[in-house]
Symmetry: D2
């Protein structure tokens, strides 16, 4: 058997061009790109005539809840959802149980995820401040994809789990790091040369305003927004930028949600400070005005903001201030999501819907398909040091491919999602443009919505 897989007749799309060619795969790698038909048999042949063949899509921001709250989601389900949604690689967030605070837990997690992975995966390390500042170098060497800091969160003294509603009367809790401790964290991550990603909301101001607004008894979205105003994102981002400038840490702002955030990041980039940013579909396709029709399922942190913020975020996409888009996949059960806006958890499914939503944006001419490839494949691969192994269609690259049909129309349906919990803000959303084949390491894992592959995902480690 000469070839493992031949993808025939499609149009290859890169960030700079589109051209027709056949792709030959062997041992999980792309070995030949040609306008000809080569001799030799293949285990698998995919006819991509009339379709676009893209580098496999990467979702850098996924909470599969595994280990930990596996009643909400687990890695088996989330990677099935990924495959179904055209994603060939996901990076798993480290706020699991155990959390990814040291090398031992990293290795355990890799083993755990490996046994369930329908797609390739990277694993984030967590920064807990002085608790694990000395573990960061070894975590880096072990192969984490980057470091994440949940700014402003307290940590349980025994389990090292994040504490979501900290008050200073709590026992057995490390209070949130003060700015000095955070500064030391920046210094330490800077040494690794890896991405230092932060959730950027000033929790002190949020807690204060929450207390004050909760008293009002109002439960509308506008009041809720007033308790988490745009300035809370601004405060944390600018503090982080100053620290990055001072320490050289390669700062990354997660899920940018405000015009102010985009502005600060753009300015810092112009000054040459090492900073990048991502956003998520909910900030691109929803605003506060949608709450009336969508309701609690669209509660995410940071909150979806206003029209003017959405406009600024699209501008940030257009001029490259924001270099990629990810899902912040964070499922909760239906029961959990029903209830008072102030108390229900934040987060929704995303890994399966991100590609359809962004392809629909291509159909609506908000971005080009070439930009789509930048945003979902090339840029994340470069950011995390796995390009051109990932994110490229090139001889020698991994045979991770996403084939899309830009003419296919579909309706997102909650009940058809592959996640364990299926909360989404997009139930009933119509899209034009769908991933129709997902190929991971040379093997088709999804075809026309059917997840067909097995557990063949591999750990992705940055080459730096």
């Amino acid at each position: 058997m000469k070839w493992d897989h031949i993808i025939r007749g499609g149009e290859i799309v890169t960030p700079t061009s589109q051209y027709k060619a056949n792709i030959y795969v062997k041992n999980g790698k792309i070995v030949t790109i040609t306008d000809s038909e080569l001799e030799g048999e293949a285990k698998e042949i995919t006819d991509a005539t009339g379709l676009q063949v893209l580098p496999g899509l990467i979702d850098t921001h996924v909470h599969s809840r595994d280990g930990g709250a596996t009643y909400k989601e687990d890695f088996f389900h989330s990677t099935q959802a990924a495959a179904a949604g055209g994603i060939t690689t996901i990076f798993e967030m480290p706020n699991t149980n155990p959390t990814i605070n040291n090398v031992e837990n990293f290795h355990k997690q890799v083993e755990n995820l490996h046994s369930k992975a329908h797609v390739n995966f990277g694993v984030w390390g967590i920064c807990l401040g002085d608790i694990n500042n000395e573990d960061l170098q070894s975590l880096s060497e072990a192969g984490v994809i980057g470091f994440k800091y949940f700014w402003g969160y307290a940590v349980n003294k025994h389990t090292f789990q994040l504490v979501y509603n900290y008050s200073n009367e709590m026992e057995d809790v490390f209070p949130p790091c003060d700015d000095g401790e955070v500064f030391a964290m920046f210094e330490e991550v800077a040494k690794t040369g890896q991405t230092f990603a932060i959730h950027a909301e000033n929790s002190d101001v949020i807690n204060r305003l929450t207390k004050s607004f909760e008293k009002s008894g109002k439960t509308d979205y506008e009041t809720f927004l007033a308790s988490r105003p745009n300035v809370v994102e601004e405060l944390t981002i600018q503090t982080a930028i100053s620290m990055a400038k001072q320490t050289g840490a390669k700062l990354h702002i997660l899920h940018v949600s405000t015009a102010e955030g985009v502005h600060l990041i753009r300015q810092a980039q112009k000054e040459g400070i090492p900073i990048t940013a991502e956003t998520c579909p909910h900030y691109l396709f929803l605003t506060n005005e949608d709450y009336e029709t969508i309701g609690p399922s669209m509660k995410v942190y940071p909150l979806v903001k206003f029209r003017k913020d959405q406009d600024s975020i699209w501008e940030g996409i257009a001029d490259g201030t924001i270099s990629f888009v990810c899902s912040d996949h964070a499922p909760h059960t239906e029961e959990e999501k029903n209830g008072d806006l102030w108390t229900i958890p934040a987060g929704m499914c995303g890994v399966e819907t991100i590609a359809p939503l962004m392809l629909n944006a291509v159909s609506e001419k908000r971005i080009t398909l070439q930009q789509f490839v930048s945003l979902l494949a090339e840029n994340p691969a470069k950011q995390f040091g796995v390009f051109p192994q990932k994110g490229a269609i090139q001889v020698g690259s991994d045979a991770d491919l996403t084939i899309v049909d830009m003419k296919k129309q579909a309706v997102i349906k909650k009940e058809q999602l592959h996640s364990k919990s299926k909360v989404t803000a997009y139930d009933g959303y119509k899209v034009t443009g769908m991933p129709v084949v997902t190929i991971v390491n040379g093997v088709t894992v999804m075809k026309n919505g059917e997840v067909t592959g097995g557990i063949l995902g591999k750990l992705v480690i940055p080459t730096k």
Copy 2:
């Protein structure tokens, strides 16, 4: 007796012009400005021929240590020093004992200071966070000149005194306010419409770096500077700017010491955010390079920084980013100032030397005498709502006048200072240009360096 005081033959200097005229004073007010000699006798006649007559100078930032550490300084001495140095009004900082946290303590302090005041005075109120957030409106109505927040300081639970070397093991201490509590403070001061002045250094980062650098055993100024890097000023100023933008508080940055600070303030002003700034002579005339010759007496907080910072601060003066100059008069005893750089207290005398130093800058053409009047009289008077009662030579204004001789040469001598403790970085400093007469409420209180007046200072209250 028709007139209380005639100032004859001098050249009046305002921010926009200089012209010769005689000034006639009655009941503590300027009643006539004329090129003629009016009829009628006068209690006092000052011949200002060949001299410049300026609006009385205002030092907005003075720590007279009264009540409290009166072994270092007291208001009797500090106001004598002010009169000697050509200052007709000082604003007393509120970190006294009792601290100025409520109306009762404000009234006590006014009474206390009134009995010792050789010059006019205003009194700052203090912001302690939730401890006294509800007292701010009544303090404002009672007549505080503005509000000061010592950002990052803890407070003793019983005395409400600032705690200067906080660690989180301390008992009986309110820890420093978190950002939420500070935000609430901004909201509350905003309602008063008064100046909200902050000491802008991120204490968390300072504490962290101090621990780390102290271990090194090094006691040189450069190492000390590394423990309080420029970024600590940047961090607090930008947080404050964001909160001012959000709340509308009339933010004022005390004693700007860095290029970064000047830059942030300039940008914020351009965006229309309500923000002003001051600096002090030590940031204008000293740099880290002077430590070798001057030694510990130049330790102040924020620390004196680098040449490039000094250059930026002068640019901030030139383009109006920084609108006035004050002394941050903060005496300690000689004994206290001798010792390890890390542990000796920060601060030095300033109220008596600020005018000579700045007049010398006029002689050196760094600023004009008209700018000097802006920086030391008109601008502070406007900032704190007491213009044109103070800060102007105009019919109806208070007869507070500083007469200067721009040809007079002098040498600053530590032992001749009028403060109780006489620590200064300028012992031996030669100046050209000296205040030679100080007139408060129409009465001469200093002539040729001799403090002659009695206790005639009055409380200054903003008209808003």
Copy 3:
């Protein structure tokens, strides 16, 4: 007789404050300002109780057509109009006949104007390129108030009169200066240290577009505007800024009419390039939308533009980018102004209406009365080196005063204007706030609209 004039009971207004005081005048100067009543009789006493007393207003941009087209206007009438409108000093533009291109013509003009002057006056010199580049230094020494360049205009070879509709087939004409000749002019004016004022419209582009749009046969204002688009102002201003940066000439942009102009000037000022700007009431109170109701009388060059330009110009006033307002008084006869929009002359009366219009803006809270004093008195006086002789109420200053009644309501009526030709865009315009007394060199020349003074205006020469 001890005093020439006493102004009693009014409120003096300066750019920084307002206070009640009496003003005593002797020999054309302010000699005493006092809250008292001084002894001695006076030739004239003005009761200003309930009124505001301002420094005499200055209109820096007036075309009285004298000598030359005196059938349109002359200096006798224009200075009566000035007095009637509260203006105590006007600066006469140099495009007269003879033009003010050399010292001889300057002296002739001074003599001519002196014999007709109801108010004080300065005289602009003209720059004609190589024709008179060598006369600029002597003109400066002779006392011109500044230099004006009519950018893009051709000049008659014999009369040195401007040629308003140049085409390159014309004979006996010096074509417009090329950029090299203009550059040499900048170099030469720079040596004088005086203001170099330019009419900033790119005439090449205007001529080209005019030919192309005239063909269309359309005579509406929008088409006319399209033939003189905003970019023509932008082109000339930015060229001028570059030349000012290179040569150090003290550039002044006359009658700014576009948002683009304001933006360029603001940027150049931030970079420290020596540049100032003025605007006129028509750019502040009219837009293209008014043409339908006002018609041809509002044709001025540069044309009145759009709402967004007007907004930007007000912002330029607010932030100081534009430092003063003047009338560009340029009367034509009614007959001349009736006709085809493309061919009728540009210009209208202004010197008599500028103060009422701007006082009405005070009533409407667009500016404060203190800003009004900056814009119409202090700033122009400073710009042209005649402060504090003019533009201030101060002992020693000239007794030029404008007394206003902010409660007085009036209607601007064309037929009541004092100019020879009475074309105005403001016929029927209602205002609140009027000048009620004009005092020139200590003598009342207007009271309640009646022009009472004689020919007492004096030449104003910069002190530099």
Copy 4:
């Protein structure tokens, strides 16, 4: 014969990655890229082991003097020089005789060049103002690569040749276009959607200053520079930017030589105005300080400026403000270049040295080899609408390839250049990194410095 050419064992370099692969060529196109050896014989096999294989380099700015001054250079020689220097495509400038002002002359020129072309070529059209404004659309349809305007040059009335030392006494000459005529040109080119490239120097100011400095009798480079100061580039660029903003023309600034130019272009790009820029090796590797050793051969227009300009131009390269580098190849004979700095012609050879010089910059780490590919291949191809036909190594792209040896050291020697006239500023310049094979349309035309190919160059037409 199955393949025309196999390039084996090399490392393919693109702007984003480098990877090993073999390239198979058929009918002048790349048909297969593979890590394998395919079956079938080949006409030509190139062993690129240890070498880098780049997309064929494009020199967008070449004056081959053919037709016209073919005693200086001709297309046979210039394209040999190109092949020798690793260039696979050149764009020929239109100031030839006949000039490329209409479709007829375009076709004649294509025929002329075709018969001598060792490499592929595009042909620029010229803009002469009203002379040929109506020919621009048909020139665009005929296939010019872009439009060039020699701003400020006069044109001979009969031959339409540029007049290099225009004075307004000349007969039979169209004077330089005024700004109105230029504006009309912008409008016309805008309609084509093609690149509008300008030589940006204000000739009026240059002529004026030249007359004034020539009189001085000085012939040093500094005086010469003073006659063509940086501001002349600034003046023309900013005028062009304003016209581009107004008309939508796709403005391109040729041979940027100043810091001011880079700054203006960067600002305009940030504002979204359609503007791009190029620079040349002489602005990157020479400064005024080199004149002493190099002498007249380095006279080019615009002149090589100062160190600070060079620094800014490198920054412009680094941040993408300047998107490509070209040679401005413009040979003159040795005799012509010997003489007075004021009178000798400007220009030197460049097409053969640009790649070695820029590869040496790679060796010196000023740019990466991936950036080199952007600057010399991908970016110019995109700018002129010929990507990915040119500028890419991709299945379906033209088989134009430049193979480089980054370890090869060489010395540039004047006498070894392939141009007819061999004036260069780089005689004796040592480089590390050389093009060693040039492949045009699949055929090797240069190997190890030997030009081996025949006349096989083809016309390149933008696809738009």
